[in-house]
Amino acid sequence: MPSPSRSLQARGSALASPAEQVRILDSEMGLARFDETITGAGLEPLRATGIEVLQINVGKRCNQTCRHCHVDAGPDRLEEMSRETAESCIAALARSDIPTVDITGGAPELNPSFRYLVEESGRLGRRVMDRCNLSVLLLPAQSDLAAFLARHGVVVIASLPSVVPSQTDAQRGGGVFAKSIEALKRLNAAGYGKEGTGLVLDLVTNPVGAFLPPAQKVQEAHFKDRLFREHGIVFNSLHTITNMPISRFLEFLLESGNYEGYMRRLVEAFNPAAVSGVMCRYTISVGWDGRLYDCDFNQMLDLPLAYGAPGHVRGFGALDLRTHRIRTGNHCYGCTAGAGSSCGGATTEIR
């Protein structure tokens, strides 16, 4: 199956519609619905435990078109957060004591307000994370990006699915592995991942296919060994993240005949212990247009905060949301299968 070079939206795919994705996820397959499963486990209703992360998705523009992308991001997507909405995010942050700002996309660095968000969050004394696709560092207009991130002590969370070039390229596009290695070397040269610098470089791996990720600690040791031995690259931690059955990964599942098997695998691997650490319990997700969600996945399925919570970052007050009820659906099996999965990796492995 060839790698798509354009987004679902640009190709006019029915799966570009969040409602169509929800319809497929809700269709009857003889599997327990997520809400039934968490009720059976005594975990319903799922509630926040306090907001520790403000995750800001600044838009869908990206220089890559990865096959598993849950955002349907790509060079052909134009939706991006305006300066006005970015200022609303900083104002909301200032009204709260949320310690961490997690900036994502698309390739968040391509948004003209990215550096504003980093600088202002830092000025407020908050820890800033950048979810980086690595190849963005090689774009001519971003030649000073590594130095900028280092200067502001931004935690870099970089995607690298595999230490095998063909595996990474199969998921993220031809030539991406080589670019990722070059970018990691630049980050190392700026001090990232090196002892004593305080500059944190974490990697994220998603399975290259319809299966669950391996044990995080085991895979971290494997990545550290191979990347150092073969490329002289160092990093801090590896996060394993399960592929969410939405957007372009859903397209892959359906086209390859793996959808039913994958959903069955997620449901059978449901782990009640993984529920306590899922990101929606400690994160508020802001969309490019300022709307609020429990997580980036709900954002892509157009499932905004519900149960009386504020709808837009302009109305955000942290106290409103500390124990708010979380909106769930069958896609939530993606975060609660096996060792669990969140933006910080496995939810049941102690770091």
């Binding site: 095998v164 044990a215 494997h222 695998r265």
Partner: protein, 110 residues
């Protein structure tokens, strides 16, 4: 088309417990203990299981062990080498019986 092997039957494996739950429970406890991390890692054990699955040519085992290997962090390169180990041992096992052929031939030949 009707066949002896049905891919969906793998999900019904636990139905074997209905005939004799005691033996099934003992087997599953043993199975779980065998594949737990020990002197060998779970990843190494999954690769051995994949090689054995090819030796016994069980399609259910090949399905399950392929998924297990990927979920334990092995890649296609490593899994292919594991199958070549099966192939080498099976081929070698045939070839070493050639010694028997040679012995018989030598005995009955002038």
């Amino acid at each position: 088309m009707d066949t002896y092997y049905h891919p969906k039957d793998l999900a019904h494996f636990s139905g074997m417990g209905k005939g004799n739950p005691g033996l099934w429970d003992k087997f599953m406890a043993y199975y779980g203990a065998v594949f737990a991390e020990g002197a060998l890692t779970e990843r190494e054990k999954a690769l051995i299981a994949l090689a054995v699955a090819h030796a016994v040519q069980c399609p259910y085992c090949i399905d399950a062990c392929t998924q297990a290997c990927l979920e334990k962090g092995s890649n296609l390169e490593e899994m292919t080498e594991a199958v070549h180990v099966t192939c080498a041992i099976r081929g070698g096992a045939s070839l070493v019986h050639g010694v028997q052929m040679r012995n018989v031939a030598t005995k009955i030949s002038m």
